[in-house]
Structure formats: C-alpha cells, structure tokens
C-alpha cells in the first residue's frame, strides 16, 4: 500500500485513467480544489473514491469526463488521460463515448418525459441510427432490470428506480468507464444495495471500469478492487481495500471505515487477533467463529 506518494505506474497499457500532478482551481476560487492528484485506474477495476465532504472527489470526477475544464473553466495544470485521450484536448461529447457520469441527484439528470426517451438521449445526440438505437435502449434497460418501466415518466418513479434509469442512460452509450458520483445518497439502504448489485454486474459481465464515489462503505466495499481516499484536494491513501480501511490514517481523516474492519481493529487493541482483515460482516463473522472455536 502506498500512502500519499504518487504512484509509479507498473503496467502502462492497463491504465484506463491516469492523472499526473493534477492541480485545478475553479474560476473565481482562491484555493485550488485539487492539489497535485496522481492516480492510476486500471481497466476493469471497481474503484471506490472516498473522503470527507469537500475533499475534491466530485471535482476529480468532473476532470475525468471533461466537464473540467470545458464546462467549468478555471485553471488546470498537470495531465489527465482517459482511454488514451488527453482530456484537455477533447470535447465533452467525444469523451462521453468513453466515460459515463452518473450524478448524485437522480431527479436532475433525467429530463425526458418517458424512460426510454431519456435512455435514448445520448444516442440521439450521437446520431446513432434508429434501429441500432432501439436495440441499445432495450439492452440497457434489460441490463439494469427496468424493462417494465420503459414508458413511464421518469419523475414519477422512486429514487432507486430513477437512479437505475440514470445508469441505463449512461450504459446505452456503451462507455469504457462509468463514474458514479454518490449515486446512493438519495436512496434508502435497499435501493442502494440494488444499485451496487447492478454496478457489480455491469463490471463483471461487460468489463466496464467502475469509479464509485461513496460514503456508505459498509455496503459498497465488498465489491471494490481498489480504494482511493482523498483529503483536502490530495490523494492520501491508494491501494487495495483491506489495507486502506485498516490503516490508522483512514480513520483519522474521518472515512466511514466499514464496521467489520473497525471491529477487527477494536478486537486487536483488546488483544484478540483475527487471522485476516474483514471488510464485510460475513467475513467478520467467519473470522470470529474461527477465533471462538480456537479458544
């Protein structure tokens, strides 16, 4: 696990997103929102990006699909490369073919009057022929499990359904990377669970790289291959989930360390050593049973 230091890229060909010493200041802001971020995200990973509010997670996501600098303006230094394209040199719509962004509030990213029309929006913009479009819309609705909603107006759906529609909208454009910026913060736990399952399926079945900005680590972390923790515009922790969650630093920053991992730490402080670091409650209970049987 690497703490704080920029990562040396081991295998350049696998990286789908790479930033190098990225510094960004919003126009009109005095302080930089990102202060030298260097991360590498490999193709096919599920990455959890977390950190306290205002740490620059959302800003970083906007850099990945070109909203920064093309929509927000401001001052950008360093380098962002997404799927082989330099973000600064590309238009947002060109990047939209590679990177899909799902936002926090499901209500404000759906604007058509029927679900299928909304899902088709991106394809219409890209001038995909109609037969192809119908196929891709149906496919996206099926992958997200909302075929039966196709003719309903989006604003009459529940938050969880809306968020799945938003995912379908992005999915229909068949991106290489899907970024979800706190997709569950407006949802109840059951809805959130469902979203994570859909995301996981997309990753496993289609090999789409997932970047998930999330606070609810209890639910999300079991799906993660890679965790990046940010604080005050910098990457402070970057590595595989167990190592990151178990580090003292993660807890001090205020990351919502999964309860299973926290339990492991408390037990260790009190002298009980489990044989591994659990991330989910299932893992924790297994390790606990082991200890109980041993004693």
């Amino acid at each position: 696990m690497i703490e704080g230091s920029p990562i040396t890229v081991a295998n350049e060909t696998l990286a789908i997103i790479e930033t190098r010493k990225l510094v960004y200041t919003y126009s009109g802001a005095k302080k930089a929102a990102l202060k030298g971020v260097s991360v590498t995200i490999e193709s096919g990973e599920i990455v959890i990006l977390t950190g306290p509010s205002g740490c620059g997670k959302t800003t970083l996501c906007r850099c990945f699909n070109g909203l920064i600098p093309h929509f927000y303006g401001g001052k950008i230094e360093g380098e962002v490369v997404v799927a082989g394209h330099k973000v600064v040199d590309q238009t947002i719509y060109e990047l939209a073919r590679h990177v899909g962004l799902v936002f926090q509030n499901p209500e404000n990213q759906l604007f058509a009057l029927s679900v299928e029309k909304d899902v088709a929006f991106g394809l219409e913009n890209l001038a995909v022929p109609r037969d192809e479009m119908i196929k891709r819309v149906d496919w996206a609705l099926q992958m997200t499990g909302i075929e039966d909603l196709s003719e309903r107006p989006p604003h009459e759906l529940s938050g969880g359904q809306q968020q799945r529609v938003a995912i379908a909208c992005v999915l229909a454009m068949q991106p290489d990377v899907m970024i979800l910026d706190e997709p569950t913060s407006f949802l109840d736990p059951v809805g959130a669970q469902k979203i994570f399952e859909v995301i996981n399926e997309l990753n496993k079945e289609l090999g789409i790289t997932i970047i998930l900005v999330e606070h609810r680590l209890d639910l999300a972390s079991k799906y993660a291959d890679h965790v990046v923790v940010m604080d005050e515009g910098k990457v402070v922790l970057d590595g595989e989930p167990r190592g990151v969650f178990n580090s003292e630093k993660a807890r001090l920053i205020g990351v919502g360390v999964p309860k299973a991992t926290r339990l492991y730490q408390i037990l260790r402080e009190n002298g009980t050593h489990l044989s591994g670091v659990p991330v989910t409650s299932e893992e924790a209970s297994k390790l606990l049973l082991e200890v109980l049987k041993r004693d």
């Binding site: 699909n65 909203l67 947002i92 939209a96 899909g100 604007f111 009057l113 299928e116 088709a120 913009n125």
Partner: protein
Amino acid sequence: MSMFEGFRFRRVSSVVHLLDPRAKFFFVCVLFITAILNSKLPPLILLFFVPLPFVLMAGVQREWIRSMRGALFFAFIIFLFNFLFTYLYTEYPQVPSAPLLERSIAMTLRFLVLVESFSVFFLTTSPDHLGLALEQSHIPYEFCFAFTTAVRFVPVLAEEAQTIMDAQKARGLELERGNFLKRVRNYIPILIPLIVGAIRRSLELAEAMESRAWGASEKRTNLYVLKLKRNDYLLVLISVLMLILAVYVWLYIPIPSLTILLSF
C-alpha cells in the same frame, strides 16, 4: 397543488390521443379560421358542437369542462364589451334589441369556440408528442428541448414551492396576512429560494446533458418518429373539406342571422 393540475398530462390513450399532433393542429386551425370567417350566430352554434365528439371519444369531459369554466369569465367580459360598445359607439345608436343581443352572443361564442378547440388539442396531446411534432416541423432542437424540459419540470418545481412554503411557514412566515401589497411581499421569502433552487437545478441539468454528448452532431436522430396514419389522413381530409365549405359559404352564401330566421 390544484393550480398546477392542468399542466400534468394524464397518460391515456384513445383514438384522439393517438392522432398525429400535426393533423390535430391543422384541424384546430381550420376550426379557428372558420370561426373567424363567421360572425352570425347559427354557424357558430354549429361550430361549437364540432369538437364535442372528440372530447367524448378522448374521455376528457371533466378536464374539458374545467377549462371551459375557466374561460367563462373572459367570455362574460367579451359579451359585456360587445354589447355596451356597439350600443354606445355605433354611428346610429341602436337600442338594446334582439339583433344587438344576438351579435354580442355570437362574438362571445366565437371566443368560446377558439378556447374549446385549443383546449381539446392540448388535453389530448402529450407534451412528448407535441415536442416531437415541433422537432419534425424543422423547429431548432434547442427550442423543442426547452419546451419538453419545461413541461417536465413544472410538477417538480410546484412540489419544491410547496416544500419551501411549508418550511417558511414552520419558521413563522404568515402568507395570508395584511393588505394586498403586504401579501405580495410575503411571497418574497418563497420566491428567492425557489429561483435559486431552479438555477442550481438547471446547472446540474446542463452538466448531465453535457455528459451525455449534447451537441455531438449537427443532425440528431430520434427514438420516436411521427408518422401520419389512416385516421390522421381522414382528419386532414375532413378539415380540408370544412375549410373549403367555410370559404365558399363566406364568399357566396349570405347567412341570415337567427333573429331574421325566427321572424319568418
């Protein structure tokens, strides 16, 4: 919020709902022209009944009656003005007589026919369809998009206004107190958060649109395509015949007024 109920299109499908909006719009325009060409009462009474079968077929009687009731106030004003001003300001001052009364009623009815035909159109055309029709009539997509988005966000904003009102009332804001000016001023603490919220919402919306390749190509494709079907051609045919008849009658056949008809 009953005030915004009218904007919420109910998804029903009937023969009338399924008609192509362009055909329906053409029919409404023909009704409009026919109503303008006629100033006598008998044909206007006839015209008033023309859209009624459509109302019944679409099953929107209740909404239709509500919209007509809304027009009643204006209809009354039109009647009053016609009656008073023809009485007072014509060259040969007429005494309040049957022909004068009939003329005023005819003018009022003309207005009601216009309201009626447009309300049938809007009650049976989904905003989706309307947007699509605009798009296919070569109106720039930006405008069509603005239109459908506005329709889509009316209920959302209405809900938000309600939330803000509740929140401000909970903090002790009294909306129904004071004279007229004071009451208007009372609404400022509702309007400001509503506007700020709407601006923020539009920014998020713009972000979402940009992320989904807005403006990627000059020539967009479209998931739905409107196509004229048999019923649409039928409606267009009816409208054309009606228009021809109306113009012919207007040019060559003087229509007697009801008072003359009755005096025979």
